[in-house]
């Protein structure tokens, strides 16, 4: 039961253009969303997050958009750079009984920036 879905296993974008990575979720209890970036043989590193009370959060070249009614979020990277080539994981958080929680991850999208 995939609660967080990234339907594009890979995405190829030319350097300098915009990269758009998409993520859908099914659990309406999710109220905090994060994007992580992962290089080969390394652990995921935090990129950007958004709370469900917002619909947009921007940090430099990275912007995350949240559409709660559609249960959809997207990560925009502009302009795309070669160092952005990595696997991007969408993750979501919901309060679980007891006051503690973890993250539910999607399968990831491999972004390839073409020179």
């Amino acid at each position: 039961d995939q609660q967080v879905k990234q339907n594009s296993p890979s995405l190829s974008v030319q350097e300098g253009r915009i990269s758009i990575l998409n993520c859908d979720y099914t659990n309406s209890m999710f109220d905090y969303f994060l994007w992580y970036k992962k290089y080969p043989a390394e652990g995921p590193t935090f990129l950007i997050s958004i709370s469900s009370i917002k619909d947009k959060n921007e940090d430099g070249r990275f912007t995350v958009f949240l559409n709660k009614s559609a249960k959809h979020l997207s990560l925009h990277i502009v302009p795309s750079q070669p160092g952005d080539s990595a696997v991007y994981f969408c993750a979501a958080s919901a309060l679980v009984g007891g006051g503690a929680d973890g993250l539910t991850f999607g399968k990831g999208t491999h972004l390839i920036i073409q020179p």
Partner: protein, 115 residues
Amino acid sequence: DTAVSQTPKYLVTQMGNDKSIKCEQNLGHDTMYWYKQDSKKFLKIMFSYNNKELIINETVPNRFSPKSPDKAHLNLHINSLELGDSAVYFCASRTGLPRLTGELFFGEGSRLTVL
């Protein structure tokens, strides 16, 4: 001065053996996790500890036993290894409860291969 460090990074072993993966974080965080990334690339939470106390235990076989000697360490011991245990195991940490509103810091991962 790695923030979250795991050892070993690679582990190859035979079915039926018992093995451990160690994790240490020097961030002063209160909560630590073990995640498993299987062959389908899903990152799934296995355990969560807060101040040495087990908080989350997802549907993980009893052969997996986490141990937290102090809040900076969360080790994973696996008994009677099976082929399906082959995966990359990630340790992560964050600041304490109540609930996750910030990022997780991940280790580099430990790739376990069971032959």
